[in-house]
Symmetry: C2
Subunit: 519 residues, 2 copies
């Protein structure tokens, strides 16, 4: 077996050891040692290798347990895959590095890792809080979802063999670069959530919805037009719209700005594209087209999911954009999709994706398929009778927890509503800050009245002129209102960060607020 | 266990059954049934689950063997992961669906698949050749590498758990969206091959080198310049350069065309960017900058790998572009990289990738890391003593085969040189077609004189004016010379397709050639 023990920075408990292995998966080495003989075939070998696998599996664990007594872990190439398997089965309920860091692995000693802590955390296992740190809430990085997916790492595992998905072409030629299975799962997801009509609609996948935003600008304009088409959106608008529209100085389209100023009650006769982000980034409000004219409207529905807002209807607009990052939290996978009524628009958007990146990563599509399927099944498999083998190993209490835990939007909504309650409590009667108020609405998904719980806190400083600078003095990084087409008294703060970071935000806001005594 | 057998179209041999499972991996479902108890922890549970794993593993195989007797396979959610494991160990030496198709899986019956055959093949297992079919060689789809990676599916497996790589940000902040481990492996690959200097250079990853080509245009131009920068390349030039340069009608740059016509011996004083693709797509020739002026030069070295051309030096230009698709064959992964001398250029290219797609798929980066690492190790682990467990199970003959089989560039070069010999033989003395001649050079990588074996055959029709139309009449799809800035007597044909498709090309070209009697 050649399993040798390696010394690493102290990893006391066997639980840590398992975390180490779990985190090792995404970049662990599986050496060619694992290769079968070139001439291996038939049931005989399959029997032989099964026996071998069982032997290896038990041996690996014997080695690991032995190793763990010496605070060491070694995921040897030969048995890495088997340890991965056992790791997934023996997964723990806590994230690696106390949930405040990731494991970094050396080039040669692949699976001997050390904790690299996220901002604000320290110590060998990242359990120490650095209270003096700077809290960066500039981006809407949806890391709060890690907790859910850690609990469902097995249902959401993605495995791709070296020879799979090598071609430029998807295994379905419907959209040449789009995996047929992903389209099916996206349609199933909207069916479960009821937030968009997909029947009879075209779906085009993109490298995140940012690529699809540019694809719509390309699809809705023409090189034959006399001048660039005006791109507008009601302020406060998503801060990326202006930069992404103008960075290449295209003659096809140009950013104009606030749709309200562009409209001003008059009927617009020239071509334009109005971006309607609803719920709105940054302020979470439900939006509708406001320009009076015959231009195009693109609905950016990245945040129209039950964890952020009541689902009041199945959206049915000409062009709707969605993204994996704000629905399941997988921002790093860079997958978005457009739901389209017009086939000509779909074809031109596909052409853009072809010219821009020659299609969309098939690995990301395979993973997105797995993730979305896991979400859909979380709602399909929510009765104990469907839990199969788990029912034999779970106590009835943890079983019911398990059932609830399968539901992504229930998890997301509970976290977001809890955070918004905490934020409103900590800012109630604040003399320094105010946040938007929302009226609850009936949510067809949860089948009850539900409050809005936006992905961002749109904070207004009551006293200071430059709210971003004011927060920065207090070691909180936010995005100023000026990026969103409004005044500097506003800032956008992400509500999607990991728990401890959110808690630190609350305590700092409370400390800042002069109307309160410091905690 | 709840493993129920499902009826599928006839899969006679147990080998086919294993192919079915192997191909099932990339989109098989792993249900939440596999989740551990929410409160599971500690060595006790890890012992329990190891025992469980061994139990499942054996049970799965018992079930599968039983199933196979009825020509059926069912990868049940609960045991899918264990079957994956066993499948990888028991991998066969042939691709699924006879290597001429892929397995399609239904939405609910996840791992009950049927063969969907590639063009020119039919039958339930895609073993039937359809001689009347149209052979599409328009794209450089590098599917010939599937054979290599199928043999190394274990060393090149990618496993990503649901909670991993969720953030927009890479785990290294060096380049905010680039995985540190990928950069290390890319540098190691160039070290092994010796085709590019990376020491002291900046590396920026992109969504394929097409995105990085656009990133260089953005990085080397400025909105302050009076008019668009001229983009040129010596004809015949890569057919995508014009379209990708002009599709957004940017005011920053515009396609001008043939660098030879642009230059015409005079010194150019206005800004320009010369694209130097070497070896050249489409004709495989080694290229150098030809414009006389102070403009920028971008070296597109997508094909500067030992399977296509002799490695005569470690390239050391200001801006060099490489791509995974033409080096390892993983086109669907959409990963390219730029090697850069100037940090300012690197930063502007990163800005482009940020605006264009908010970074690069982290799943693709994780997979690219695994694939490149496997290639590097194929050259590191090439002595029998390093083969570990294999040495116990392999005959000395298959062992030595195994050692050679570990070397990607040895595999690639042997296939490409064989194909070029076959092509030259079949066209020798042809009255219809001619192909370029090359002088062999000393290859530092193979340490001997090596012939050129380009990824494309740049075919010239001796008699007809429109070679593309002529080939189309004979059911061969090619790309006309007009797309490459030259005459229609030329066409580009991919040499990177799967074996049978290449063999069909040869027999058709021979049949076409009036100077021969039909085979």
């Amino acid at each position: 077996m050649g399993l040798e023990a390696e010394r690493i920075v102290t990893y006391g408990q066997s639980q840590r050891k398992k975390q180490l292995m779990a985190a090792a998966l995404a970049n662990s080495t599986l050496s060619t040692n694992c290769d079968p003989p070139g001439n291996a075939q038939s049931g005989h070998w399959s029997f032989k290798s099964t026996a071998l696998a069982i032997f290896l599996l038990s041996t690996c664990f014997f080695q690991i347990n032995k190793a763990s007594n010496r605070d060491t872990v070694n995921v040897n190439d030969t048995s890495a895959m088997l340890i991965q398997l056992a790791t997934q089965i023996a997964a723990t309920t806590t994230l690696p590095c106390s949930g405040h860091g990731y494991l970094e692995f050396g080039g040669t000693k692949q699976c001997v890792g050390t904790c690299k802590c996220y901002e604000c955390f320290g110590g060998v296992d990242c359990s120490q809080v650095i209270h003096s740190c700077v809290i960066d809430l500039d981006h809407g990085d949806p890391t709060m979802f890690e907790e859910f997916w850690f609990r469902h790492e097995v249902s959401s595992i993605t495995v791709i063999l070296g020879y799979q998905r090598m071609s430029y072409f998807a295994q379905s030629k419907h959209v040449w670069f789009m995996e047929n299975e992903l389209e099916l799962q996206i349609r199933a997801l909207h069916e479960v959530v009821g937030n968009a009509v997909t029947e009879g609609r075209h779906i085009v996948v993109g490298t995140g919805s940012t690529q699809l935003f540019q694809a719509t600008l390309y699809a809705l304009t023409s090189p034959d037009q006399p001048k660039p088409t005006n791109i507008v959106s009601a302020a406060p608008f998503y801060s990326s719209y202006p930069a992404v529209t103008d960075y290449l100085r295209s003659a096809l389209f140009k950013w104009v700005g606030d749709a309200a100023k562009f409209s001003l009650g008059v009927e617009r006769e020239e071509p334009y594209i109005e971006m309607v982000c609803s719920p709105n980034n940054p302020d979470g409000r439900i939006q509708h087209a406001i320009v009076n004219g015959t231009g195009h409207v693109v609905h950016d529905l990245a945040y129209y999911w039950p964890h952020y807002t009541p689902i009041t209807e199945a959206a049915d607009h000409d062009i709707m954009l969605f993204t994996l990052s704000k629905s399941t939290g997988h921002a790093g996978t860079r997958i978005g999709w457009a739901i389209l009524k017009d086939e000509k628009v779909a074809k031109k958007m596909m052409k853009f994706v072809e010219l821009n990146t020659i299609g969309v990563s098939h690995d990301s599509q395979v993973r997105a398929t797995q993730i979305v399927k896991s979400v859909v099944q979380g709602y399909a498999y929510s009765s104990a009778s469907n839990l199969g083998i788990e029912t034999q190993t779970l106590s009835s209490r943890s079983l019911s927890e398990h059932v609830d835990n399968n539901k992504l939007f229930h998890f997301g909504a509970s976290v977001m509503h809890y955070r918004w309650r905490r934020l409103r409590d900590s800012l109630s009667g604040s003399s320094e800050f105010s946040i938007p108020e929302f009226q609850p609405s009936y949510c067809n998904f949860f089948q009850k009245q539900v409050n809005h719980a936006p992905a961002f806190a749109w904070l207004r400083c009551r006293k200071v002129v430059d709210c971003e600078a004011f927060l920065k003095e207090n070691r909180i990084i936010s995005r100023s209102g000026r990026h969103f087409g409004v005044g500097t008294e506003y800032v956008r703060l992400s509500m999607l960060e990991r728990n401890q970071k959110f808690e630190m935000l609350l305590s700092r806001l409370a400390r800042i607020d002069s109307s309160r005594t410091p905690d």
